[in-house]
């Protein structure tokens, strides 16, 4: 029997369609109900990677809010910060000092970016600034490889007192394993997110940041120094990058491969809105949990590997319904 007649046979359709519907809409949920401990485990795993996505997205949001620049280099800044930290430690610098030195490097980077990239490009269209951050990405990759070499490194987790090891909790008639480092990541991320939100909403500098995000010339006219603001946000994004780099590096390893994972921040941002800190968090969690659940329960249907692309599908769906994202600034346009 040739392929065409096989596909046209009514029995083929009837049989397969039913089975397909069942394996999409029934079996996964039955599995979830049958083994709730496994469900909790999956959600927890998703939550943790969601927190890390949220951290990366946060770095994007900070810079986008204040300068309207989509900083393509945020991902590589994470790698660069982590590499610098490990690099200092390899040279025999104590861990705590290495953290401070790395912060210093991130500050220098912020100042350099402001001087060399942003200042000469003031008032240029957004796309030009975006391309500039593209260039920055490759400069940082080259610089990183030149100084630290290309091979993956081990994050200095013990020296930074990041707890390791599992905690097993018996629940729901089974056992759920929480990694201590994941708990630490969640806590640190939450603290940082709350601090940043307060900073934006309630401080003079925070208000100035929002003002700069809205209109450069108006901000200038009330005496806000753009250069100062840009250094502040890029430094803040650098701090976020360092913390992300430490947490992520401690879970796997510090390598340029992290940069690819950083692109996951894109669907997170589309989901949460480019200008919203809470959006980055919620978006990160939705993407993180969504892709783990999809991978575990629906992945076998298509032979696995859903995790790498499902985030973009979720984001695409959201884009059609709410183009400004869940929490993004409502687009106000007078016509």
């Amino acid at each position: 029997m040739d392929l065409a007649s096989l596909l046209l046979a009514p029995a083929f359709f009837a049989f397969d369609l039913l089975g397909l519907l069942k394996s999409i809409f029934v079996t996964p949920f039955a599995d979830m109900a049958a083994m709730p401990d496994l469900l909790v485990q999956t959600i927890w795993e998703g939550l943790v990677s969601g927190v890390l996505y949220a951290l990366i997205a946060l770095g994007f949001v900070l810079i986008f809010k204040a300068s309207g620049v989509f900083n393509f280099a945020q991902g590589i800044m994470v790698v660069f910060a982590a590499l610098t930290l490990v690099g200092f430690h390899e040279k025999g610098v104590p861990a705590w000092l290495a953290v401070f030195l790395t912060l210093g490097v991130m500050l220098v980077l912020a100042i350099a970016v402001e001087r060399v990239v942003l200042r000469p490009l003031v008032n240029q269209p957004d796309i030009i600034l975006f391309m500039a951050t593209f260039g920055l990405t490759y400069v940082l990759i080259g610089l990183g490889e030149f100084i630290f070499g290309g091979e993956p490194k081990q994050m200095i987790a013990e020296q930074l007192y990041i707890p390791r090891g599992p905690i097993d909790v018996a629940m729901l008639g089974g056992r759920v394993t929480f990694q201590k480092i994941d708990i630490a990541a969640a806590v640190i991320a939450s603290v940082m997110i709350i601090a940043l939100a307060l900073f934006f909403q309630y401080t003079r500098i925070g208000r100035a940041l929002r003002a700069v995000a809205d209109s450069h010339k108006a901000a200038l006219s009330v005496g806000i120094s753009l250069n100062q603001i840009w250094v502040i946000v890029w430094f803040a994004a650098g701090i976020v990058a360092l913390i992300t780099g430490i947490m992520w590096g401690a879970r796997s390893e510090v390598s340029f491969g992290l940069d690819i994972i950083a692109l996951k921040a894109l669907p997170v941002l589309i989901l949460g809105g480019f200008t919203s800190i809470p959006g980055a968090i919620v978006g990160g969690l939705i993407i993180g949990i969504g892709e783990k659940l999809a991978e575990f329960y629906w992945g076998p249907l298509v032979g696995g590997g859903i995790e790498s692309w499902i985030a973009y599908v979720i984001a695409l769906g959201f884009l059609m319904v709410r183009p400004q994202g869940l929490f993004g600034d409502k687009i106000i346009e007078r016509i």
Partner: protein
């Protein structure tokens, strides 16, 4: 009519000397000199493209002139910088309204207080201690301005949603929040109806009376200009063609030619 006796009184607040500004081969301003005295309303008028807005941009440091000097509060500079201008008490509004559209009226005007707020950012973060007292004090000042401009009802509205006339008023409010010594208004009445124009005129005059602010304004409505201003400088193609009281300027043949055209 406005009182005329103020003319010739007041020390020079700002002096612009032989300023020239070029963009490549385009001469925006050529060798213009004029002064602004304390407490006066100084109008800058001229046909489209005469260099009026460029002049304001030079005064508050957005543009840096190639030649000339600017003396403000006794200090002479070859160019201003926006940050310096703002911290020295020069505030401005824009021809096409430049507000922080996503922020409320209140927040917009609060941003005008940025330079006046000095308390440490740590305290601000926790809305506590000295920073709280400071915030309350500034908030009070801002509420006064909101009262003054009669925009209480739109306090919490994102300014992007407001009609144009009100946006212009919020922008004036933000400039006033800086407690400026010199206020630069770029076409404060452009695109307004008669009633809105009358309101704006009243606000400008009250600002001068109540806060003692010196005002430099660009305006196309000649009735408004003649009513409001103490002295008028007239630019055409970047060159100063007249300078004097409204009546003198009105009678100046060059000005009449510039506005009505001249038979060649």
């Amino acid at each position: 009519m406005k009182p005329q006796q103020q003319i010739e009184t007041g020390a020079t607040l700002l002096n612009v000397e032989n300023v020239s500004l070029r963009f490549g081969g385009v001469k925006a301003i050529t060798d213009v000199s004029f002064d602004i005295r304390k407490g006066e309303v100084r109008a800058i008028i001229g046909p489209n493209g005469a260099g009026k807005t460029s002049m304001l941009n030079v005064i508050n440091g957005f543009y840096h002139p190639q030649d000339g000097r600017i003396t403000y509060r006794g200090a002479t500079r070859s160019k201003m910088r926006p940050h310096v201008a703002a911290s020295q008490g020069i505030a401005r509004t824009f021809q096409n309204v430049a507000l922080f559209k996503g922020m409320t009226t209140l927040d917009n005007i609060m941003v005008g207080r940025t330079l006046k707020m000095r308390k440490s950012f740590f305290w601000q973060l926790f809305r506590h201690g000295p920073a709280m007292a400071e915030e309350i004090e500034h908030r009070k000042f801002v509420e006064e301005i909101i009262d003054f401009l009669e925009i209480e009802h739109i306090r919490k509205v994102p300014v992007g949603k407001l009609p144009y006339g009100l946006q212009k008023r919020v922008e004036l409010g933000r400039a006033l929040a800086m407690e400026p010594e010199l206020l630069l208004l770029d076409e404060p009445m452009a695109g307004m109806n008669l009633e809105e124009k009358e309101d704006m005129c009243r606000f400008i005059l009250d600002t001068k009376e109540q806060y003692g602010t010196t005002i430099a304004l660009i305006e196309h409505d000649m009735g408004v200009v003649m009513d409001l201003s103490d002295r008028v400088v007239v630019l055409e193609y970047g060159i100063k063609i007249a300078d004097g009281t409204p009546d003198e300027v009105k009678a100046n043949q060059k000005v009449i030619d510039a506005y009505l055209g001249v038979a060649h």
